[in-house]
Symmetry: C2
Subunit: 515 residues, 2 copies
């Protein structure tokens, strides 16, 4: 077999079974090998931001890496922003990046670029394969690197002659390192903080927002009276009726400070000490109150399940019923003008059981918290790295990872335009994704940010940098132009009708909600 086939077989043997790709000439032998080797599902994206964002969404739901196949430095470059988001989310991805044949590099052909240099800022692991014989071993190392908890970006650069040269068998990856167990001291210190008698908060992140860890957090809260909180954006949190209810720290600095106010003991489990998204003149960067002592029970890469088991045991809460548990409230469907609260009510009322929500709703979704808690149980994923253009690709990837579940992408118009090509992938692969496109015809967040920055009142030229009017986008046309059915809503009752329509069918559908 050639190197390309040894690589694809190595991926499949090690459980990597989805390839998100936009290949080019230098990847043609890999494409041919994907053809010959059974067990790999290939998903084409018309832009690499779709490819890498889908791989992020896939990992969050599948819990194991997909691979990407990208075309040289610029192809990787196009995927950089969503690799940034994936890296911040702790998502594991194996990037296979084609490269010129080793002997061709010295000629500086047009597509020649410093691929390792482009890869490094968004990768935990980078290697350029030396030859066809060692390519499979390099791939196995990349797979292992991608699996390091909570998930890492591994980028393997494969020159074309490593693909077409003669190679040997596929290589089995070394088993993943287990997550680090937390020390008894850390558990004891966390327990002391939560039982000090002072107002305490347990802040959860990463895998602590799901399953047994989340349930234990509820037991601990019930036992100690501590508050539970999540970071503003999270990789994947279990949410909705029947689950332990977790508030998210607000985005706006003053609101975040208010939410933390009075907290004297902060225990971190998978979360970092909270900081503001940006620096604002005259405001603090760190959101932890000055008089609050923080202690880390477990980092995001640690054994969070074990840590919360141990903490619950230490606190004698193993059998304490978790609280607060969110209750199902299907609010009456509101009507009339579109408001943020109205949007939240419609979503909460109609969200299908077991849905997966990819949320990049930015300003339009700021009021979602309370209603998501009372909606049917679901997984809620948010953009972790702050680089917009994530939700549509991530929704596509989640749909591949979680067949049988309804995927709901909550997307702003400004963000959606970054990677709107994801709609075509949804149509091509017939993915069960409902896109709610919040059309406020503006980078709405920036109006607030300009003010918060103390940059003054915007004049016409500044306004023109923040608005998406003149002309308005027609998202139903942008969706239909890519083979995705779509409808528009300008009232809450129309929004509800559109959502019902989307949720009652299988396959992609876009609802443009004019705000």
């Amino acid at each position: 077999m050639n190197g390309a086939e040894s690589l694809v077989r190595t991926l499949v043997v090690n459980g990597v079974e989805v390839c998100f790709t936009n290949p080019g000439t230098s990847e043609m032998h890999f494409v041919a090998a994907l053809d010959r080797v059974p067990g790999m599902r290939c998903i084409l994206g018309m832009f690499e931001g779709v490819v890498t964002g889908a791989a992020d969404g896939y990992y969050r739901m599948a819990g194991k890496p997909a691979c990407t196949l990208l075309h040289l430095g610029p192809g990787l470059g196009n995927g950089l922003a969503n690799l940034h988001n994936a890296k911040k989310a702790g998502s594991g991805i194996v990037n296979i990046v084609g490269e010129h044949a080793t002997y061709h590099l010295k000629y500086d052909a047009p597509l020649t670029a410093d691929i390792e240099g482009i890869a490094r800022p968004v990768s935990h692991w980078v290697k350029t394969a030396a030859n066809a014989r060692t390519l499979a071993g390099d791939c196995a190392a990349a797979i292992r690197a991608a699996g390091v908890a909570p998930g890492q970006i591994a980028t393997l650069i494969a020159p074309a002659d490593t693909a077409w040269g003669e190679a040997q068998s596929p290589v089995e990856a070394e088993p993943a390192l287990p997550r680090r167990k937390v020390s008894a001291d850390a558990v004891a210190e966390a327990a002391r903080a939560l039982t000090s008698g002072e107002p305490a908060m347990l802040m959860l992140g990463g895998a602590a927002l799901r399953g047994r860890a989340l349930e234990n957090a509820g037991r601990i809260a019930a036992r100690t009276g501590c508050r539970l909180m999540a970071e503003y954006n999270n990789s994947r949190m279990e949410c909705g009726a029947g689950r332990v209810r977790i508030d998210r720290l607000p985005y706006v600095v003053d609101n975040a400070l208010a939410a933390m106010k009075g907290t004297r003991r902060l225990v971190l489990a998978g979360a970092k000490p909270p900081v503001t998204f940006f620096a604002y003149p005259g405001k603090p960067s760190v959101i932890v109150p000055e008089e609050c002592a923080a202690t880390t029970l477990a980092g995001v890469a640690d054994d969070l399940d074990g840590a919360l088991d141990a903490l619950a045991a230490e606190l004698g809460a193993t059998r304490t019923p978790p609280a607060p548990i969110a209750e199902l409230k299907r609010p009456a469907l509101p009507a009339g003008a579109v408001t943020h609260d109205g949007i939240a009510a419609v979503l909460a009322a109609l969200l299908p059981e077991n849905a997966v929500v990819a949320d990049e709703s930015i300003t339009s979704g700021r009021n979602l918290g309370a209603s998501m808690a009372s909606a049917a149980p679901h997984d809620w994923m948010q953009i972790r790295g702050g680089s917009i253009g994530w939700a549509l690709p991530a929704a596509a990837g989640a749909a591949i990872a979680a067949p049988g579940r309804k995927i709901v992408a909550l997307e702003g118009d400004g963000s959606g335009m970054y990677t709107l090509q994801a709609l075509w992938t949804m149509a091509r692969a017939d993915l069960d994704v409902t896109v709610v496109l919040f059309a406020n015809r503006s980078y709405q967040i920036l109006h607030g940010e300009l003010k918060n920055m103390g940059a003054g009142t915007p004049g016409q030229r500044a306004q023109d940098m923040l608005t998406l009017d003149r002309p308005f986008l027609d998202w139903t046309a942008l969706a239909r132009g890519q083979g995705v059915e779509a409808g528009r809503a300008e009232t809450l009752e129309a929004f509800a009708a559109e959502l019902k329509r989307a949720f009652s069918r299988r396959g992609p559908y876009l609802v443009e909600l004019i705000i």
Copy 2:
């Protein structure tokens, strides 16, 4: 004034008068400063690939840099592919990239990234500003770096506190270094090569494809009988009736080898020794025949006008009438099924005088050469770095740089999808761009490449990675959804009718040509 204002004033004082941008929170003080300082035209792109590609197109037509204003590492990352193209084109661009306030970086907020690391592979010059007082000086240095011949990418990273901190006056940039004069020896050697009596070729690139240099190349060809050739892709060539006619080296290796066959003396003026775009098993990387001796008259950064003046003088060709001169032939408009020759004939017949053509037509445009030569005089720009998604943004930038000229973007459907957001910018800024969208519903080039790579006959899975069917894109919907009028043609007569319609009006229009 604050740092942001000192930076914007420095840009304007030094002749940088267009800012292509997609700003975010960390750039809000720059946005506010753009508002206050007269003399800067701001163009919003809904994706940074539009922003950087427009800056490339602008430079090619304006001959001086625009600036970009980008949002941190991911915003720069989104612009990477078209910065790669711009770098390979020798286009000068001043990137201003926002960054977290210096004191905020240590908190590793979501958007924190290694911006210098992301910038370096696509930049000739990278600097992070240290404080508000030195920001204007850093900007002046960036402007100077961008102006180094033939044009460079200069990336200035500006932390938010350098924008809002107190600063002084704007700074005048040091004058640009003049282009290097070529030596008398190089001129003499080139003259000897062209008069050796052996078959000789003068290969032109960069600024040698325009104006006086191109005319001198014609004189030299007429005097010595040498062939004239351009590289496959060029930054900007003057073409059409009345101009010295230059063939382009073909893309396909065998055709390129055939075009070079028999050449014994190769003189390079602004071009590099030609190499293949990719390596193919069993084919050479270098297209220069083995028995051919190459000599460099001048590099792309050298004084090409002076070099060709000197060579014409050395050869006694100063008054020789240039040849071959292309003649205007407006072919009869063909009808019937769409063919590559038919496309070329329609374009040649209808191309408006003095048009600027941004050509990323890939396979659909391979037959354009002969017809472009006989069309009305125009400028013809091609994608230099091979990273697709260039033509629509470049056309937008060219339209800003060359008001009063009709811009014609020749774009493939696969390439167009990379940066289709450029259509919105065309509508917003009411740019006079006609987009010809070649819809072959395929990455057509890759079918040939798969074969040339010897990767075998593609099966269904490989085919699925190369085709853009299921569903078809509807480009008229994608254009109208962004406020650009559009029409579709499925025959050559319909294509001609649509082109006439587009060319007879001002403002953006998209013609989708089904192939």
